[in-house]
C-alpha cells in the first residue's frame, strides 16, 4: 500500500507519524522485512557529519556612509570573494587566513559567525562616483549582517573512497594523515546513516527537498557539483564509490555550531564539518527496502592516495561493516582503519530530525525536480588553445 507525501504530512501534523532513524530502520527491515516495515513506518531520518570542503556562505554587509563597492575583502584576515555587487560576499570554506595560514580559514569564520562572535571586516575598492569610499575597516557579527546563508555547492557525498598510502613516506591529505606502506586507511561516510545511501536512486531526494542543515532547516538547491550518478552499483542500488552529491542552502543565522565546525587538515588546508540530515518518506515497500540498507551491504573502493593523479588505481573493495570493525584486509595484511566523519554526531542529527518530525515542527517536501539519474564527471584537459 503506497503512501503520498500529503498523507505522511497529515500524520506529522497530527503527531501520529511513525519516525525511525536509518539505523533503527535497518534493524526493523532485517527483523520484519521491507513489506511490514513499509506499513509501520512513515519517515526514516538520516544524518551525516563530515568534512565537506565545497561549502561556503553568502553574506550582505549593508552599506557604509559614504558607501563602498568592495572589490577585495577580508573577515578576520581571511579573504572572501567580494566581486558580487557592492557589499555582497561569499565566504569560501577553504580560504586560508593571510596571517594564520592553515590554522584558521573560511570555515572557522563561518563557525565564528554562527557563534555570534564579532569579527574584523576589512575591504578595499577602486572608488566610483556612486561608491566613493576606497577602504573600510570595521567589526561585524551575524546580527549586523542583512543576510547570511550557507550555500554549499557539494555536500552529502553519496559514498566516498577509502584512502590508503602505498608510498614510503607519510602523506597529509584531506583524508587525514596516511602512514607509509599502507600503514593505515581512512574512510569518510556515515554508511547506513548517510542520506543518499538510504535513497540510492534519488526517488525522494531532489531539488526543493527540505533538510536539516547545520542545525537549522535547509533545502536541496541543486544537484551538487561533480554529481556522478552513472557509476557501478550494488544490487541494492548503492554506489561502490563516490556518486551523487547535493548543493544545499540554509540560513546561517539559525544554525548551531555543534553541527558546523571549522577544520584543518594538516598540510592540506581548511575544510568544514557540515551536519546534514534528510528525511526519507517511506512511500512504499521499495523505499522501506532502500532505507533498511545496512553497513554490510554498502561497499566502497580503496585507493592509494600517494598516486598524484586524477584516476588512481582501485586497490580493492570493502564494506562499511568491515571498515567499522577497525581493520581491513589489504594485500594480505591487516591494516588499521579510522573514520573521518563523526558517526556519533550523525546519530545526533538523525535523532534531532526525528524529534522535529515527531513534534510536527518539520514537514516533508516532495522534490520540485528529481536529481539527474544519469551523468558522469568531466575531467579538465590541458588544452593549448589550438583547434578549440
Amino acid at each position: 500500500m503506497a503512501k503520498t507525501y500529503e498523507e505522511i504530512n497529515q500524520r506529522i501534523r497530527k503527531g501520529e507519524a511513525v519516525v525511525l532513524t536509518a539505523e533503527e530502520m535497518t534493524g526493523l527491515v532485517a527483523s520484519e522485512g521491507a513489506q511490514k516495515a513499509a506499513r509501520k513506518v512513515d519517515v526514516v531520518t538520516t544524518g551525516t557529519f563530515g568534512p565537506m570542503c565545497s561549502s561556503g556562505a553568502f553574506v550582505n554587509f549593508g552599506h557604509s556612509d559614504p558607501p563602498i563597492k568592495m572589490s577585495k575583502a577580508w573577515l578576520n584576515d581571511v579573504p572572501v570573494c567580494a566581486d558580487i555587487a557592492a557589499v555582497d560576499a561569499y565566504i569560501g570554506a577553504t580560504a586560508l587566513s593571510d596571517t594564520e595560514g592553515m590554522a584558521y580559514g573560511g570555515a572557522h569564520v563561518i563557525q565564528d559567525l554562527i557563534e555570534g562572535k564579532w569579527m574584523k571586516l576589512r575591504a578595499t575598492a577602486y572608488g566610483t562616483d556612486c561608491y566613493p569610499r576606497r577602504e573600510i575597516e570595521t567589526w561585524v557579527n551575524k546580527d549586523t549582517l542583512n543576510q547570511a546563508f550557507l550555500f554549499n555547492p557539494r555536500n552529502a557525498y553519496q559514498n566516498y573512497a577509502c584512502a590508503t598510502n602505498g608510498s614510503e613516506r607519510t602523506i597529509y591529505t584531506y583524508m587525514g594523515v596516511l602512514l607509509p606502506n599502507h600503514g593505515n586507511a581512512t574512510y569518510c561516510s556515515a554508511g547506513q546513516l548517510s542520506p543518499l545511501l538510504n535513497d540510492p536512486l534519488y526517488r525522494t531526494i531532489g531539488l526543493g527537498t527540505r533538510v536539516f542543515l547545520g542545525g537549522a532547516h535547509g533545502y536541496v538547491a541543486w544537484p551538487g557539483t561533480q554529481h556522478k550518478p552513472s557509476v557501478e552499483r550494488s544490487p541494492g542500488g548503492t554506489p561502490l564509490g563516490p556518486a551523487g552529491t547535493l548543493a544545499l542552502i540554509g540560513d546561517l543565522k539559525e544554525m548551531d555550531s555543534r553541527f558546523i565546525r571549522g577544520a584543518r587538515f594538516h598540510r592540506y588546508g581548511v575544510s568544514m564539518y557540515v551536519g546534514v540530515g534528510i528525511p526519507i518518506p517511506i512511500l512504499d515497500e521499495e523505499m522501506a527496502a532502500y532505507a533498511g540498507v545496512s553497513d554490510a551491504e554498502i561497499q566502497t573502493t580503496i585507493f592509494d592516495y600517494s598516486q598524484p593523479t586524477r584516476s588512481r588505481d582501485p586497490l580493492g573493495r570493502v564494506s562499511y561493516a568491515e571498515l567499522r570493525s577497525g581493520s581491513i584486509e589489504l594485500k594480505g595484511r591487516k591494516v588499521p582503519c579510522a573514520p573521518l566523519s563523526s558517526y556519533k554526531v550523525a546519530r545526533q542529527i538523525a535523532g534531532t530530525l526525528k524529534g522535529w518530525i515527531e513534534e510536527g515542527r518539520f514537514l516533508l517536501s516532495a522534490p520540485v525536480e528529481p536529481l539527474p539519474a544519469e551523468g558522469a564527471v568531466l575531467p579538465l584537459e590541458i588544452r593549448d588553445g589550438e583547434g578549440i
Binding site: G50, S341, S342, K344
Partner: protein, 135 residues
C-alpha cells in the same frame, strides 16, 4: 652523564634488526624502553630513555639516524579538549598503540593515556586542533 627521552620511529625494513641491542653494546648507552609498538613488516614506534656519557649518547643517536630511524624529542603529556571534540576519529588513524580509539557501539573517542607512547602524531591529525602536547 646525559639522559634523553626520545621517540624512535622505525621504518619496516629496520624493525627486524637488533637496533637497540647494538646501541647498548657498541655505544655503552643504557637504553630503557618505556613503551613500544613494534610489529614485523610494519612501522614501529618506541619511547626510550637513553642514558650515558654525553658524547656516547650523541653518537648513539647518530647511529640510529644513519639506520633510517626517525629520532624525535619525546613529549611528556598530551591533552585533549574533549568538550570541543566531535568524535570524528581522525586522530585514531595515526595512533598505532591504540591509546586513542573509537568503537561500536557508542563511537565516542576514548583516550587511554597508559597506552600512549607520546609520539605526538595525533596533534597534527586532529582536524579541530584540540590535542596539545607538553614537553
Amino acid at each position: 652523564m646525559a639522559r634523553r627521552r626520545l621517540v624512535l620511529t622505525f621504518p619496516p625494513e629496520v624493525v627486524e634488526r637488533p637496533v637497540v641491542a647494538l646501541l647498548v653494546r657498541d655505544y655503552d648507552v643504557i637504553t630503557n624502553i618505556l613503551r613500544a609498538e613494534i610489529h614485523e613488516g610494519e612501522i614501529g614506534r618506541m619511547l626510550v630513555e637513553l642514558e650515558g656519557e654525553g658524547k656516547r649518547v650523541r653518537e648513539g643517536v647518530k647511529y640510529l639516524k644513519d639506520l633510517g630511524v626517525q629520532v624525535e624529542e619525546a613529549i611528556t603529556d598530551i591533552e585533549l579538549d574533549d568538550e570541543l571534540c566531535i568524535d570524528c576519529g581522525a586522530c585514531t588513524a595515526v595512533c598505532l598503540p591504540r591509546a586513542l580509539k573509537m568503537e561500536a557501539p557508542d563511537w565516542e573517542l576514548d583516550l587511554n593515556k597508559d597506552r600512549c607512547i607520546l609520539c605526538g602524531l595525533c596533534v597534527d591529525a586532529c582536524p579541530l586542533q584540540l590535542i596539545t602536547v607538553k614537553f
